[in-house]
C-alpha cells in the first residue's frame, strides 16, 4: 500500500499464524488467560477435525458386523489408541465448553462488560466481565470432564477405580 516499499527494503517482522496459534509465550501480556484459551481452542479444534475425518472413515466398517467387532477388539487391546481416544475426548470437552463461552461473547455479545470511563488501575472492562469468570469455570469443568472421560475410557465403567 505504501509507495516507499519499492525503495527501502523492509524487514518482515511477523511470527506467522502457526507460531501465533501454538505459542502462548509469543506475547507475554499479563492478565490475559483469553489468549491461552484461544490457543487451546484452536489446537483442540484441529485435533477434532483430524479425528472427524478418521472417524467417518473408520465407522464405514460398521456395515460389516464381524469386521467391526474384530476391529474394536484390536482397538481396545492397544494402549496407544486408548491414549489417543483420551486426548480426543479432552479436546471435545474443552472445545465444547469454551465454545459455549465464545458463542455468548462473539455471537450474542454478552459477558464483555459495559463501556466506561477509564480509571485506575486501567484494566479494560472486557477483562473483568463475566466472560473472565466463565474462563475459570470452563477450565475447572474441562478438567473434571476430562478425568471422568479418562475413567470411562480406561476402565470402561463410570466408577471410581478404588
Amino acid at each position: 500500500m505504501s509507495t516507499r516499499k519499492s525503495k527501502v527494503k523492509l524487514l518482515k517482522n511477523m511470527p506467522g499464524v502457526v507460531r501465533a496459534s501454538i505459542d502462548p509465550f509469543l506475547v507475554r501480556a499479563t492478565n490475559n488467560p483469553e489468549r491461552i484459551m484461544f490457543i487451546l481452542h484452536r489446537v483442540t479444534g484441529v485435533i477434532i477435525v483430524l479425528y472427524l475425518f478418521l472417524h467417518i472413515y473408520v465407522t464405514s466398517n460398521t456395515i460389516d458386523s464381524a469386521r467391526w467387532n474384530s476391529l474394536m477388539e484390536q482397538f481396545g487391546a492397544s494402549i496407544v489408541n486408548k491414549i489417543g481416544e483420551f486426548i480426543v475426548a479432552g479436546a471435545v470437552i474443552f472445545h465444547g465448553l469454551n465454545g459455549i463461552r465464545l458463542l455468548l461473547v462473539e455471537f450474542f455479545g454478552v459477558g464483555i462488560g459495559k463501556p466506561e470511563h477509564p480509571k485506575p488501575p486501567y484494566i479494560a472492562p472486557s477483562l473483568r466481565a463475566a466472560q473472565r469468570k466463565a474462563i475459570y469455570i470452563v477450565a475447572v469443568l474441562s478438567v473434571v470432564g476430562w478425568i471422568i472421560a479418562g475413567i470411562l475410557i480406561f476402565t470402561g465403567y463410570l466408577e471410581l477405580p478404588l
Binding site: 517482522n13 501465533a20 506475547v27 492478565n31 490457543i39 462473539e106 455479545g109 485506575p120 466481565a129
Partner: protein, 308 residues
C-alpha cells in the same frame, strides 16, 4: 486476583531500579539486511523509562540507534516497542517495572506484525491505511451538515459515554502488534481499525453505518477475530478493542439477519430561539477582608515596576 497483579505491576514502577541495566536492542540495518541484538549498559535513576534509556544510549553510547518518539508522556503514541515480549509504550514503561536486581536485562524489540524500516522504527503505512479504510469520520446523508458545519449535532452525555472509551485511541499500534491474527494475516484490519469502526457505527451522530458494515464484513474483517483479548490487555489507554470487535460483530450478524436497526440518530441542533443570556460581571459583594470596598480597591492605581 487480577487487580492485584496489575497493582503489583504499578507498585514495581515506584521502586528503585537496579543501578545498572543491560538494554538488549533488536537492530536491523536495511542496507545490508542484517538483524542482530546489541547490548548496552545503562546507568539508571529512579523513575527512568525505557525511552529515557534509549535516548541515553543514542546520546552517549551509540548514535546509530534509531527509534521514534515525540511527546514522552504517553499521549502521541509514537514510541511503541516490544519490551520483554510485551508491546508497550517506551515512555510509559518504567525500568524498575521490567528489570530486577536478579535479572537486570531488558529486551527491546520493534513492534511485531509491522514491517520494520530500521532498528526500532516500524512502518505504519498499512496500519494507517486500514484505519482510513473504515472511514473514521462522521458521515451524514446530507454532507453539508458536516462540511458547512453551521451548527453542532445534539449528543447526550449518555450517548457519549457509550463511545468515549473507544474514542481515546492514540493509534500507537500496540494492539495490532499483540494480535495473534495480525501475526499471520497482513490483510486483517486489526483491532485498532475494527474498534474505530465500532466507535463510528455506534456514534449517534453518524449515518454511514451501512458502508462501514460492508467494509468490515469481509473474510479479513471482523470475522477473523478470535477473542484472544491481548489487544485489550496491552492497550495503554484502556480502549478495550476486544469488546468493541465483539459488539461490532454482533451488529454485523444482527444486520445480516435483519434484526438490527440503528436505535438513535441525532439531528443537527436548530437555530437559537432567543439570543444567549448575557450576564453582567460584578465584583463580589462580600469581601473576605472586613472593611474593604472591592469597587474602590479596583479603582486604586497600583504602580508596578516591571523593570528589574
Amino acid at each position: 486476583m487480577v487487580a492485584r497483579s496489575k497493582f503489583q505491576e504499578l507498585l514495581a514502577a515506584t521502586r528503585q531500579p537496579p543501578k545498572e541495566v543491560t538494554i538488549r536492542v533488536k537492530r536491523y540495518d536495511p542496507e545490508t539486511g542484517k538483524v542482530w541484538y546489541q547490548d548496552y549498559k545503562v546507568k539508571t535513576f529512579r523513575g527512568m523509562t525505557i525511552l529515557d534509556a534509549l535516548l541515553q544510549i543514542k546520546e552517549k553510547i551509540d548514535h546509530t540507534i534509531v527509534m521514534r518518539y515525540s511527546c514522552r508522556m504517553g499521549v502521541c503514541g509514537s514510541c511503541g516497542v516490544v519490551v520483554n515480549k510485551k508491546p508497550s509504550l517506551a515512555c510509559q514503561t518504567q525500568i524498575a517495572a521490567v528489570a530486577s536486581e536478579d535479572k537486570p536485562i531488558v529486551v527491546v524489540e520493534p513492534l511485531y506484525n509491522f514491517p520494520i524500516i530500521r532498528d526500532l522504527v516500524a512502518d505504519f503505512g498499512d496500519f494507517f491505511n486500514k484505519h482510513r479504510a473504515i472511514k473514521p469520520y462522521i458521515i451524514r446523508k446530507d454532507p453539508d451538515e458536516v462540511e458547512k458545519g453551521e451548527r453542532e449535532f445534539i449528543m447526550d452525555p449518555h450517548d457519549l459515554h457509550e463511545i468515549y472509551e473507544y474514542s481515546l485511541c492514540i493509534m500507537c499500534g500496540l494492539c495490532y502488534s499483540a494480535c495473534p491474527v495480525s501475526a499471520g494475516d497482513p490483510l486483517y484490519l486489526g483491532p485498532q481499525a475494527l474498534a474505530q469502526a465500532y466507535r463510528f457505527i455506534a456514534d449517534v451522530r453518524d449515518e454511514g453505518y451501512e458502508e462501514r458494515i460492508k467494509i468490515v464484513d469481509t473474510e479479513h474483517g471482523c470475522h477473523r477475530c478470535h477473542f484472544a483479548a491481548t489487544c485489550s490487555a496491552v492497550c495503554p489507554k484502556m480502549v478495550d478493542p476486544a469488546s468493541a470487535i465483539q459488539r461490532l460483530r454482533k451488529i454485523v450478524f444482527m444486520k445480516t439477519l435483519g434484526f438490527w436497526k440503528k436505535k438513535k440518530i441525532t439531528q443537527i441542533a436548530g437555530p437559537l430561539k432567543e439570543p444567549l443570556r448575557q450576564i453582567e460581571a460584578k465584583y463580589a459583594v462580600e469581601n473576605i477582608l472586613e472593611g474593604v470596598d472591592p469597587e474602590e480597591q479596583a479603582k486604586r492605581e497600583e504602580k508596578i515596576d516591571l523593570e528589574l
